[in-house]
Every structure is written in C-alpha cells, then in structure tokens.
Amino acid sequence: MTTITGPLATRRLILQGAASVALIGLGNLPFAAQPARAAANDKYPEEAFKQKSEADAIKALYGKTAEPSDKVKLDAPEIAENGGVVPIAVTTTLDKVTSISFFVAENPNALAASYKIPDGTVPSVSNRLKMAKTTNVVAIVEADGKLYSATKEVKVTVGGCGG
C-alpha cells in the first residue's frame, strides 16, 4: 500500500479538485451521480485513507480545509482505557449535514472512519476506534458544503507492569 507522493499525487489532487468544482458548476444537470454537494462521492475514498497526516486526508476526502467550531461536540475519554477500543462520538447542532469523519492524527493513516449522512439522518455518530498512541482526535462535520472541526487529545499508553 505505497502512498503515491510527490508531484504525481499533487497533480491528481488538483484534478480531483477541478472535477468536483466542475460538478458543482453543472448544478442540476441530470447526472448519474447525485449532484455532488462536495460530499464525498459514493466510491470508497481509497486515496483519503492512504494519506498520513489528517490535513492531507481532509483535503483528499473533501478537497477543502475545515475551521474549528463549537457547534461540533466531540466526546472522547481523557485517558483511553485501551488504545484498541476507544469510544468516540460526535454530535452537532449544525444543519444540512452531509458527512461526518474521524481522524486520529498520529495513527499510521490519519483517516479512521467517514460517514455519509443523508437527509433525515440525525448528524450524530458513536463508534470505537483504534489509537496507536497519545494524540489528537479530530472530528470533521461537513454542513452545507463547508467543513467544521473539533479536536481533543486522548492519552493512550500500554497497560500492565513487568511483562
């Protein structure tokens, strides 16, 4: 699973960016794919899951950057009882939410999970994630085409004594 880095990757990102802009521009042309409100398209975001840092992963997934917002409530423990099973949840009062994603900054690949939130689904998700070490958990909410984020550090260490 080598990540394509360097010029080739950036060229692809630009292309991807251009493609999604074009789609928005086309507005309500009857298009096979639902007119993308810049929501992650239906295909499995392979590229985003390959990115190392959460900044690159966010860009690969949404093609834009997020701004912190206190309307995004991220619920995660102070100290994870076990790095393999960390209960993390997010809820938001923002409306027209189309996507929610979770990033664990210093995991081998930052993007952990991404959820599509169709109309009529409450913008709130709980899940259990793995965390390689003490690091920031970032929740991203895409609402009405814009990205909002919340961040919290979760401490993770090994358990037990001598071994």
């Binding site: 975001p45 393999g84 991404s114 599509k116 689904t121 998700v125 709980s126 259990r128 994630l129 793995k130």
Partner: protein, 103 residues
Amino acid sequence: MASTIRVRATSNGDITEVQALIQHPMDSGFVKDSKGELIPAHFIQELKFEYNGKDVFVADWGPAVSKDPYVKFSFKGAKKGDDLKISWVDNKGASDTTTAKIS
C-alpha cells in the same frame, strides 16, 4: 452460521436509534502475529444501512476501526415494525447482510 451483524433498532416518536455490532477481526495490517509475521490487512470498508430501499447511513471504514466494530446513529421517518437492511463488504471482498425489525 449466525449472522455476523447484531443490530438493535428502537424507534420512539419519529426518531429510530440504531446500534450495530459486527463480528470482524478488522486487522490493520500493522500488527505482527506470535511468529513475528505481519497479519495482512483485513477490515470492513463499507457498511450500509438501507430503509425503504434508500441509504439512511453509509460508513466508509479504514483499518483504525476497532475489532468487532460498533456504530450508533439515529434517523427519522421510520416506524415500529419496519425493516432495516444492513450490509457490509471488506477489503477481501467478503460480505454479509441481514435485515432487522425496528422495535
């Protein structure tokens, strides 16, 4: 074999809360086994919840989702007794699907 998907869908008023626990190793591909060899990546990539033929929730998962993964969400517009279809596909092409009654 019993389904790998355990679902609890409970509706009160217009909101149906859905909890799912799925039996899957979710191997990340970074862990070594007792003989020191890397256990190949084997994890659920997509988990879909459909109601009346329409997706109400779609999860794109990576290897950082815990073993025997769990997810909870809620959606509007369903009522007691309706069916909720759940299906997953992993990176090896394996899949499972089940239908749960909203209680």
